[in-house]
Symmetry: C2
Subunit: 205 residues, 2 copies
């Protein structure tokens, strides 16, 4: 059986750190920049540009037929990039057992029966995590950070829900939902790794 | 720090078994019939009657002012019983470190910072669990069982949401959400116990 872990997460909840620690603990490849690198090779587009476009999803490229025809190519362009990202995620997961954080991998790989984790937290603890890891954390107010968290998560939700049979963050779509508001990622990562091992031992049933 | 675990669960998801196994693994009291026994002593009402009333919540006693005044006493009676149950849950949790399954304990005890688990599963696996533990499983159709699962969960949700700041089963109200569709309770219980230990070590922050 393939061993694939997908980590979906709210911004600032510590999902990326959890994903890296799970990959280490389980001996799986941690897949992140590889996706965009492969896309860059195929499209000859700049990696930074691709990442920005994928992160903002289709949010900043609304299809507004009535007011601005010029935006339509951008919106469909984003959709094309997202579709291409999905193709590369599927190729990558088919090739190697891995942990993939974000990128809609939970939905894209659903037929491969990944172990699907959703990581979330309350707003105060997400703000605290953002500040702790940010270089310019002291200049941004809590209100600024909170607004940014909501903006990013909105893009993730909208993009995810375009091609998923369940809403982003809806428990039905995940095997384990982890609230990191009152836990340290380093403490819970080995336990969740053990949970994933049991899941894979069961063969995903 | 007090060690209290609350296990909220969808009907048929294996939450009760998980609660018992967690109590064993963590050396905590498993609180279940004790609540109704104490209520029975205080009210002189029959335990079976109390359990039935509490399980159906206020669902079968709707407050319909316009059509049936006679139902109002029953509805307020149910609300009184639920309030009394809450009082006994609080007294019990104050007295002993414990695992409490259901009974809205997640919301009732929120100021005691319990470790709050929500257990859920997809409909086919809940039907399978109901059949496996039922004596008359063979006579009920899947459709019957599915309807019964939905009826019971609706009563749980409505009752819970009367006195909770978050909806029943909404991830914001829980520390860990466990999908048992593709896992055996006996396999994941020791891992979740370890997760709870870490949570309590952290002092609930």
């Amino acid at each position: 059986m393939k061993k694939i872990v997908t980590v979906s997460r709210e911004f600032g909840s510590g999902g990326r750190e959890l994903g890296k620690r799970l990959a280490d603990a389980l001996g799986l490849s941690y897949i992140d920049n590889e996706i965009v690198e492969a896309m860059s090779k195929e499209t000859a587009l700049d990696e930074k540009y691709l990442e920005d476009r994928l992160n903002s999803g289709i949010l900043q490229y609304p299809v507004t037929f009535a007011h601005s025809f010029s935006r339509i190519p951008s919106a469909s362009g984003s959709a094309m990039l997202i579709a291409q990202q999905h193709k590369i995620i599927r190729e990558t997961a088919a090739r190697t057992d891995c942990v993939i954080v974000g990128r809609g991998a939970d939905a894209v790989l659903s037929d491969m029966r990944p172990f699907r984790i959703f990581v979330y937290a309350d707003i105060p603890s997400k703000i605290a995590r953002c500040k702790a890891r940010s270089d310019n954390g002291e200049s941004a107010t809590d209100k600024d950070i909170s607004r940014e968290i909501k903006r990013i998560d909105k893009a993730r939700r909208i993009t995810h829900d375009l091609y998923s049979s369940y809403p982003w963050g809806d428990k039905a779509g995940y095997d384990l939902m982890v609230n990191t508001s009152r836990s340290e990622i380093k403490d819970i990562a080995p336990i969740i790794a053990e949970y994933a091992r049991k899941f894979f031992e069961g063969g995903g049933r």
